[in-house]
């Protein structure tokens, strides 16, 4: 089978779990003998050798003439008074969208250094006669919606030139692309939801993103949710019929470089780790509050917060306010070998997410024999037995469990031993088989 896939990121350049999941799933799909053509905003050195054919949307020439707009059919134009999208207005250029801001972008935004904040000029370049190249940096920049639309225009061009059986797109950024490709090719569309606007923003959702997500969910032939937790959100918050949503849990990719990177833990100095975007969704504030309470009971523990995000400054200030700066370190955004190193050094991994559709990183921590504490408000807690689980808001219980892991070594030892068995059964192959099964149901 040949799959046209639309994604927004792919290793090694990833900002979170989305790229990691796309990599794991596509590798398992190709191992099953399927071909995947994976469209990305642009290439930044990814996949020089890769199992999938990577297509950078920002390098595909688009005919300058009147291509069909990817927005046609988007509910804005709907005349039917019963249409659920009636009255929707998409403010394309002036909305400051930042669902996944990197540290650099956040700083740029903060200090007003980003020249392209409200500026859509220079978004296309004339190439050879009658063709143009669209600017799609794929950085989750401030005018992301404009980018997303340009990406969809290119998707239409690709859909015309490529041969494939099914379209599979990932998250809202690729919704217009997927639907546009479906309209042009007539192939079935699968939309995989890795995160919703409710996960990222709680109740303060960005209405435009929500509408695009809902548009995608109602247009797709089938929806994949990465957990039952996410399926519930899709059904309850987006009004999607449950029978149209299939749950396919993520898995974890075994890293071959792991053995070489193993660093012994320091048994005298215990480390408790938070690793993820420092944003509302990931619950970094609960981690900081817990750290202060743990230090009251077990002095001398070190807490590390690895990652970047729009809450970093607030967290640094709170740590100072609590007077625990001596025991609390911020590493900034980590990648590749640095992540492996930090996992290897840690004694406890905590994922206090407020809302986590899946959460691959606890699985990665387990690969490094680190016992994990995860929020119950996460998809991964559905498949993990040998992890400690807490409600993200229950700071005292989080403290109880962190202290137990630090004090009673038999606890971590047993969890780690059992986790090894458990990880053997969490494989991308299983996820890929479910996805293929779903493709087959959609094919004539």
């Amino acid at each position: 089978m040949r799959v046209l896939m639309f994604g927004w990121e792919f290793p090694p350049h990833v900002s979170g779990g989305l790229g990691t999941a796309c990599f794991g799933l596509t590798r398992a799909l190709t191992a099953l003998g399927h071909e995947i053509c994976f469209v990305l905003p642009r290439l930044k050195g990814e996949g020089l050798t890769s199992h999938v054919e990577l297509i950078p949307a920002s390098e595909i020439p688009v005919p300058a003439g009147s291509t069909e707009s990817p927005l046609s059919g988007f509910p804005e134009a709907a005349a039917d008074p019963d249409d659920p999208y009636k009255g929707l207005q998409l403010r394309l250029i002036n909305s400051i969208l930042r669902p996944y801001l990197t540290e650099h972008q956040y700083e740029a935004l903060l200090y007003g250094q980003d020249p392209s904040l409200f500026d859509d000029e220079g978004a296309e370049h004339e190439t050879k006669q009658g063709y143009r190249i669209l600017d799609i940096p794929g950085d989750y920049g401030p005018n992301l919606i404009a980018e997303v639309l340009r990406y969809a225009v290119v998707a239409g061009v690709i859909a015309e030139s490529q041969d494939f059986d099914v379209i599979h797109c990932h998250d809202w950024m690729t919704v217009f692309a997927g639907i546009h490709a479906k309209r042009i090719s007539g192939r079935p569309l699968v939309l995989q939801i890795h995160a919703t606007e409710y996960d990222r923003s709680g109740e303060n959702i960005n209405r435009n993103v929500y509408d695009i997500e809902r548009y995608g969910m109602s247009s797709a032939d089938r929806i994949i949710a990465v957990s039952h937790y996410t399926k519930r959100i899709v059904v309850e918050r987006y009004g999607i019929a449950p029978e149209r949503v299939s749950v396919v849990h993520n898995a974890v990719t075994r890293s071959e470089a792991r053995q070489a990177m193993q660093i012994g833990k320091d048994h005298e100095k215990k480390i408790v780790l938070f690793l993820g975007r420092i944003t509302f969704q990931k619950g970094p504030d609960y981690f900081v509050e817990a750290a202060a309470k743990v230090l009251d009971i077990v002095p001398g523990v070190t807490f590390i917060m690895a990652g970047a995000g729009d809450m970093t400054t607030r967290m640094i200030e709170r740590v100072a306010e609590l007077g625990i700066g001596r025991h609390f370190h911020f590493t900034g955004f980590l990648q590749g070998a640095e992540i492996e190193r930090i996992f290897s050094m840690s004694d406890v991994y905590v994922m206090p997410s407020v809302s986590e559709p899946f959460g691959i990183s606890p699985l990665e921590a387990m690969m490094y024999d680190v016992p994990v504490i995860i929020s119950r408000q996460s998809g991964v807690s559905e498949i993990l037995k040998h992890a400690l689980k807490v409600d993200f808001w229950d700071i005292d219980e989080m403290v109880n469990k962190i202290v137990a892991l630090l004090k009673f070594s038999a606890l971590g030892d047993e969890m780690v031993e059992r986790s090894r068995e458990e990880l053997r059964n969490i494989r991308w192959e299983q996820a890929a088989e479910k996805v293929v099964d779903l493709y087959n149901q959609l094919l004539p």
């Binding site: 037995k385 040998h386 202290v403 137990a404 009673f408 038999a410 047993e414 059992r418």
Partner: protein
């Protein structure tokens, strides 16, 4: 003439309350009063009361030809006395029929034999005293926690004057031999060993309500027919949890109807009769000596100690508990000993078992914890608090001893 020997284990632990790291050194109460009350009420209504009533009816109807044995754990008797004296009264009525034998065990349904011989014996004596007070019987049969058994335990029990002991009729100790005879524990002179017929026992305890079982639905006449096949047997031992009736097997499965018909169906065959363990031990000789060097139990497929002491957490918790014996005794204080012993109840360790956790099937019954890890954390927090109490009380003792000394010196300058 074969005898059918029916014995019921009757036990509910005193469950521990949620005890977080913030409770350590602050709150020294460990029991989950509300949950224990709720569970004992539920089991009383669904199992103990209706089952006892049925047993009484059957004993009266068969004029003593139907005979049974119970072993009530001390912690269960405590809870009944506190909350459900009606259940305790119905057990007393059963005792008054003369057709019911009460067995001894460790008061706290504990693993005390692994703590120290002294602790093991003291808990048995506590239990013996309690049975005597409640039911007027002096038990001559001993059954250890969850049928845990080995040669060592048998020897200790014989020295304490018991005539019979119960154990699991596991294939690994019997080999080609049959569980339907009495055995002489290796190293013992007079003690007789009764072995559970696990096939026939589990037909009732586990398989009875299973609609996928080929023998489903099991009727009393069919079951009696299976028992009647064992004409060469001396004693057929059917040992089950009392909660089988109405709890493990719900009333809707027809388990009470089955039980109601069972005695008459078995007694239809003139060669068969019912006996209690003590009667069987008196009436039959040991067929052979049997050596069981390693611990044996009736739990899980392994039938060893791994349900309680299989993983590192269980061993760590138990080791910490055992190491407190000296300090606990030094307090010379009944309530301290009681608290330490409450923590010995085997269920606390059973909840920490990770063996079958992945399947989520076994070890779940009335389990107050979401995971074995939660069970361990809670238990260790309590142990931590208790160990602090022990230190405090020891210091208190020293201080008051010193004060007394000082007072004396004051008096005799």
């Amino acid at each position: 003439m074969p005898a059918v020997c029916i014995y019921f284990q009757v036990h509910q632990p005193i469950r521990l309350r949620r005890f977080s790291v913030f409770d350590i050194n602050r709150d020294h109460s460990y029991e989950d009063g509300a949950a224990n009350r709720q569970i004992i009420d539920k089991v009383a209504e669904k199992c103990y009361l209706p089952s006892n009533e049925l047993m009484l009816e059957l004993i009266e109807r068969h004029q003593g030809a139907f005979r049974i044995a119970f072993c009530l754990s001390g912690v269960l008797m405590d809870q009944l006395e506190r909350h459900r004296s009606d259940v305790l009264d119905s057990f007393k009525r059963l005792a008054d029929t003369g057709a019911v034998e009460f067995l001894d065990e460790t008061y706290y349904h504990s693993l005390a034999f692994l703590i120290s011989p002294r602790e093991f014996k003291e808990q048995i004596l506590l239990h013996r005293k309690r049975i005597k007070a409640l039911f007027g019987q002096e038990p001559v049969t001993f059954r250890n926690t969850e049928l845990i058994y080995n040669d060592e335990i048998a020897k200790t029990v014989e020295q304490m004057g018991y005539q019979a002991i119960l154990a699991e009729g596991a294939d690994r100790i019997l080999g080609w031999r049959s569980p339907n005879f009495l055995y002489r524990p290796a190293g013992c002179e007079t003690l007789k060993l009764l072995l559970r017929n696990y096939r026939l026992s589990d037909d009732v305890a586990f398989r009875f309500g299973n609609a996928k079982w080929p023998e489903y639905p099991l009727m009393a006449d069919k079951y009696a027919h299976w028992i009647h096949q064992n004409l060469a047997a001396d004693v057929i031992n059917l040992f089950v949890d009392y909660e089988t009736f109405g709890e493990h097997q719900w009333q809707e499965t027809g388990i009470f109807e089955f039980l109601r018909r069972l005695p008459e169906e078995i007694l239809k065959h003139p060669d068969f009769r019912f006996q209690t363990p003590a009667e069987a031990a008196r009436n039959y000789d040991a067929a052979a000596a049997l050596s069981v060097p390693d611990h044996l139990s009736w739990a899980d497929a392994e039938r060893d100690l791994t349900a309680w002491l299989g993983n590192g957490m269980q061993k760590d918790g138990f080791r910490s508990l055992r190491e407190m014996e000296k300090a606990a005794r030094r307090c010379r204080d009944a309530s301290t000993m009681h608290q330490w012993r409450l923590l010995q109840t085997s269920d606390h360790f059973y909840y920490m078992c990770t063996k079958w956790f992945a399947d989520g099937t076994v070890h779940k019954y009335f389990n107050p914890y979401a995971s074995p890890y939660d069970a361990y954390i809670n238990y260790m927090n309590i142990l931590d608090d208790f160990s602090g109490c022990l230190k405090e009380r020891a210091q208190g003792k020293q201080k008051s001893a010193r004060n007394r000394q000082n007072d004396k010196e004051d008096l005799h300058p």
